[in-house]
């Protein structure tokens, strides 16, 4: 139902994809504390607005793609390199 902008295949229905979700940067395993590691595993900001998240085009090109999705309206757009908040004129 949600249309995801796959950079390889064009706009495709979300049912072709697996939802991986927000993927924060992986902490350094040598210096991370248990609390930080588990935050990386389990905690997500879950903010209202544009979030960057990963989807896997399981029934398509089989690439892991990053898209930006507005968690209120489920609008989607191609991910920008600098992240969702950095875009000029980004909606609320």
């Amino acid at each position: 139902m949600i249309l995801l902008p796959c950079p390889w295949c064009g706009p495709r229905d979300a049912s072709e994809f697996g939802h991986v979700g927000e993927t924060p940067p992986r902490p350094d395993p040598d210096t991370v504390t248990p609390a930080q590691w588990r935050a990386y595993l389990y905690l997500r900001p879950n903010s209202r607005g544009w979030v960057a998240e990963t989807w896997y085009h399981r029934m398509g090109c089989r690439r892991f793609i990053k898209v930006e999705r507005h968690t209120d309206t489920n609008e989607t757009r191609q991910a920008s390199q600098r992240g969702p908040a950095a875009r000029a004129g980004a909606g609320a």
Binding site: M1, P5, V20, V32, R62, N74
Partner: protein, 966 residues
């Protein structure tokens, strides 16, 4: 009028009637024969014959008749043959149909369950939270009795299931609603070049024009002819838009008699570029005592009956009119020869106080106190806007006290959704169709932009994209978006709840008093009062009741309707059968190439995910013994296989396995375990190095797809600079395991190009060669069963040939097939754990007996932090071998290990060992019980307690592994 052909209440031909008087249709109603005309609905044919009572209500079993005479009529749900809950005022009569009333006993007329009316004080809303609670032992009795009072039809188990294949549609513009506004919008969109899907829930296009005056009928004919002549419009009648989802993905329910069964339904999944919502308005009942009596009808009901079906709804009428449609109903009544005894004009202070009667309305008390005897009370109290599609698009409507209804929030709609027609405002027919034409043209314009945006998002087109800054090349539907002119909004008196207590929800038997009682008990919001009383939770889902409910609740709380609001409108808009949602069942099954041999030799099938595997061939214990004593063959094709090539494969293996892979030489094979980032055991398998940069990885069968994705995830997102090509070859190879003391003898007879001696081809090595004449086979020596064995990966199309050759050539050696069950026994004897059987979703690496494998001195690997911490505090259970003291007892898997009353673990695998003649187990136990020699207590499912000893090794047979290394 005298006895008319077609029923006592049938009128002379009406200009807009939809019946065909030349074609009669015989059917039965509660066992009595009736006749209708082609085009009659069940309700109109029965009403023509003078029937007034069609059903009994849910709780109180009050007699009910026609209220709206449309699909949404709550008083007219009937059973047609084996089909329950048929909307009698929408379904056409069919020849020979056996129509019966629902949930009435012994008959519709004399329904003994109407005793509920006397129990009314006990059966108020929410009664089931309070009554029939004690004594608890009587619950089965209460349930048995209450079940008989549920107002549903009868379902027959003999009805063949109907599962229609779904249809996919991609219209530029989807127009929801086929009244004059919908038709005008569709025409304008089509003429602007858009493909249009026009969806109408009634059997004909036209909306309210169909029961209108001469001018309405002329306009209907005009619009209808234009729509029929327009090739870009596809019309679906008797079809309903169920819901609007993200990206204008729209579900449409199509009812198609030609698809089989009386009412076969099909789901149409439509992705529309733009959606025009033009559902018109739904007439709303008025709340007063007796408002549910047969003979109390809304103005649209009488106009439908008179004009569409030529049926007289009564003889002597009182009318409450608050709007021009009510006045038009008065004209229709007079034209049909009905005596209009009184018209209460709500705009001038008129009102209905109450209606009285038993099986139907007999008298009505009006505002000035006079009581008028009549058999028909017509109510034109106002309109409800069915805004659900707009709500689903994110625009919450706002209540307008001036219009006495909710109006769309146009600003809140996404650019791809437009609203027009009566939903959007009032005005003359020309004003409404003018607005709709503008909406249709605008919808087509925006659809073009959406289409352009989709095409430009295709790879290969992006380089040629025209900059999107408005104008003809724009891809943004909201660029230069035309704001449609506002429609006028007429003022309308607010008529919701009258002076006496009446029904708000006819389907759920909820009165205004029930709602006020709910508020008094603290359920003081629309959402809470709804859930407590079940108002709006019936088959109509609020279409007739939610605004009246909001008005009563608002009044009881002391706020306004605008502040109270209505409850959330959710899909589906109307009920949809499970068969339509399911569609035909597609259940793919995966077979190995050796499946024909398995079937021919009596294999008992085992379903493993989508695979069918041979569980055994009659005697799994004998199969296992044959492996230990002679030689056996098992088909292990479902094992996941991944071909890995590239300079960074060893890095990938080091990253994903817990053990070390940098020094794996060409020709060697190693067992590896993967843990997830939470340290939990994810998968295990064997990986062999076939060349400098070429490896073959195997995974568990059930993990084949998941591990492929796991590898790709790491390569694509965490290590995009690495060069590794991953090719899934699970089904490219047929895989089989040849195991037992005679294996080498057998393999030497069929293998070319490989020195099979133990010195040249030791345990845990891999070779490629020709087997049974087939090139490019991979052989590796591994030992899941604990015997000398070779796992062969044969190009799949030759799998059956190699399998049969091995069995044939090895016949004198005792070669025989063994199945999954025998393999389970053999591996358990050897203490080899199975991921997901002996481990679960919480089992971290050190709880799976993997201390020897986990190399915490590696720089980094998946799960390292958690494994390091687990190792530090030695936390978590341990995997151990268990030997029940009484070897004849085979504890059921998942039997608990108890220390007193405390659960200290469980048996994870358990079998009778044919090799040892006694039971063997694996178990997860608390660390304090894991010391070899510890005696533990096992609680069998029967409650019986037995003892078992923790073995020194996980393996019960050949713990040193000598048999594998010969």
């Amino acid at each position: 009028m005298g006895e008319q052909r077609g029923g006592a209440m049938r009128l002379t031909p009406q200009p807009g009637e939809v019946i065909d008087r030349s074609a009669t249709i015989d059917f039965s109603w509660n066992g009595r024969p009736f006749t209708g005309f082609a085009g009659d609905t069940i309700a109109s044919a029965l009403a023509a014959a003078g029937e007034r009572v069609f059903s009994r209500s849910l709780k109180y079993h009050r007699p009910r008749g026609l209220l709206t005479a449309s699909y949404h009529d709550p008083g007219c749900m009937v059973q047609v043959g084996d089909e329950p809950n048929v909307r009698g005022a929408h379904r056409l009569v069919s020849a020979g149909a056996a129509v019966t009333s629902q949930n009435t006993w012994p008959s519709l007329r004399l329904d003994l369950k109407a005793v509920n009316q006397f129990a009314a004080p006990v059966l108020t809303a929410g009664f089931y939270y309070k009554t029939f609670m004690r004594p608890r032992f009587a619950w089965p009795l209460y349930e048995a009795v209450l079940r008989r009072f549920v107002n549903g039809g009868r379902v027959s188990r003999d009805t063949p299931p109907s599962r229609q294949a779904k249809r996919f549609a991609h219209p530029d513009v989807l127009v929801a609603g086929g009244g004059p506004a919908g038709m005008a919008a569709a025409l304008a969109a089509a003429r602007a070049g858009a493909s249009v899907l026009l969806v109408e829930e009634e059997l004909h296009l036209g909306g309210h024009l169909r029961w209108g005056d001469e001018a309405d009928l002329a306009a209907l004919a005009n619009l209808g002819a234009q729509v029929a002549a327009e090739p870009r419009i596809e019309v679906l009648t008797d079809a309903v838009v169920l819901g609007r989802y993200d990206g204008n993905w729209i579900a449409v329910l199509e009812r198609r008699g030609d698809l089989g069964g009386a009412e076969a339904e099909r789901l149409v999944k439509a992705r529309a570029k733009t959606l025009v919502v033009a559902p018109g308005l739904i007439e709303r009942p008025y709340v007063f005592a007796g408002n549910d009596l047969p003979g109390v009808m809304l103005s649209t009901a009488v106009r439908r009956l008179i004009n569409l079906y030529a049926v007289k709804p009564g003889e002597r009428a009182v009318v409450l009119s608050a709007n021009p449609e009510g006045d038009a109903a008065v004209a229709d009544l007079k034209r049909a020869g009905i005596q209009v005894l009184r018209v209460e004009d709500a705009r001038l202070g008129g009102d209905i106080v109450m209606a009285a009667g038993r099986a139907g309305v007999r008298s009505v008390t009006v505002a000035d106190g006079s009581q008028i005897s009549c058999d028909l009370l017509v109510i034109a109290a106002g309109w409800t806007a069915p805004t659900s599609l707009l709500n689903m698009a994110g625009a919450v409507p706002a209540y307008s006290p001036r219009a006495a209804r909710f109006l769309p929030d146009f600003a809140g709609l996404p650019p791809e959704v437009l609203a027009t027609g009566g939903l959007a405002g009032d005005g003359s027919l020309d004003e409404l169709t003018g607005h709709a034409s503008a909406a249709g043209a605008e919808a087509a314009r925006r659809a073009e932009r959406v289409g352009r945006a989709w095409r430009q998002a295709m790879p290969g087109n992006r380089a040629a994209a025209v900059p999107a800054e408005g104008g003809a090349g724009s891809t943004d539907p909201s660029d230069d978006a035309k704001v449609l002119p506002d429609l006028p909004v007429d003022s309308h008196p607010e008529l919701f709840a009258g002076r006496t207590n009446g029904f708000v929800d006819f389907s759920e038997d909820v009165t205004a008093k029930d709602l006020r009682a709910a508020v008094a008990e603290g359920f003081d919001s629309a959402e809470l009062a709804k859930r407590f009383t079940t108002a709006t939770m019936g088959p109509l889902q609020g279409k007739l009741e939610s605004v009246n409910a909001a008005a009563v609740v608002a009044d009881a709380i002391g706020t306004s309707i605008a502040e109270t609001g209505t409850t959330t409108w959710r899909p589906p808009y109307v009920p949809v059968s499970l068969g339509a949602l399911a569609g035909p069942a597609f259940e793919p099954v995966r077979y190995s190439p050796m499946q024909p041999w398995h079937e021919a030799h009596g294999a008992v099938p085992l379903q493993a995910g989508a695979w069918i595997r041979p569980d055994h061939y009659g005697d799994p214990a004998a199969e296992a013994r044959n492996v230990r004593e002679r030689v056996g063959l098992i088909d292990v094709t479902p094992i996941g296989k991944l071909d890995l090539r590239g300079p960074d494969v060893a890095n990938l293996l080091n990253l994903l396995y817990v053990n070390k892979w940098s020094k794996l030489e060409i020709g060697r094979v190693r067992y590896g375990v993967m843990c997830a980032e939470d340290g939990v055991v994810l998968d295990d398998g064997v990986t062999g190095r076939l060349g400098e940069d070429h490896y073959l990885m195997s995974t568990t069968s059930s993990g084949a797809g998941a591990i492929w994705e796991w590898l790709e995830n790491w390569l694509q997102t965490e290590r995009p600079g690495w060069v590794v090509h991953v090719t899934p070859v699970t089904t490219a190879y047929a895989s089989m395991n040849v195991a037992g003391p005679h294996t080498r003898t057998l393999m030497e007879r069929v293998t070319e190009g490989v020195d099979l001696s133990n010195e040249a081809f030791p345990y845990m090595h891999v070779r490629t060669g020709r087997i049974a004449g087939v090139d490019d086979c991979v052989l590796w020596r591994i030992g899941f069963t604990g015997e000398l064995s070779y796992e062969l990966h044969v190009p799949a199309s030759f799998g059956l040939h190699v399998w049969e050759t091995l069995l044939d050539v090895g016949a004198d050696l005792g070669a025989a097939a063994f199945g999954v069950e025998a393999q389970r026994i053999l591996r358990l004897e050897k203490g080899h754990f199975i991921v997901g059987q002996d481990t679960d979703g919480l089992t971290k690496g050190f709880s799976a007996g993997l201390d020897w494998a986990i190399k915490l001195d590696k720089a980094d690997f998946a799960g390292k932090p958690e494994l390091a911490w687990q190792h530090e505090d030695a936390s978590g259970p341990r995997l151990v071998g268990l030997q029940p003291t009484d070897g004849s007892v085979v504890p059921a898997e998942a039997s608990l290990i108890m220390v007193g009353d405390h659960i200290a673990g469980r048996v994870t695998s358990s079998r009778m060992s044919p090799t040892l003649g006694r039971s063997v187990c694996l178990a997860q136990v608390e660390a304090r019980l894991a010391e070899p020699g510890t005696e533990v207590t096992v609680r069998l499912p029967t409650g019986r307690l037995i003892t078992a000893l923790v073995t020194p090794d996980l393996a019960h047979v050949d713990p040193d592994g000598g048999r594998m290394r010969v």
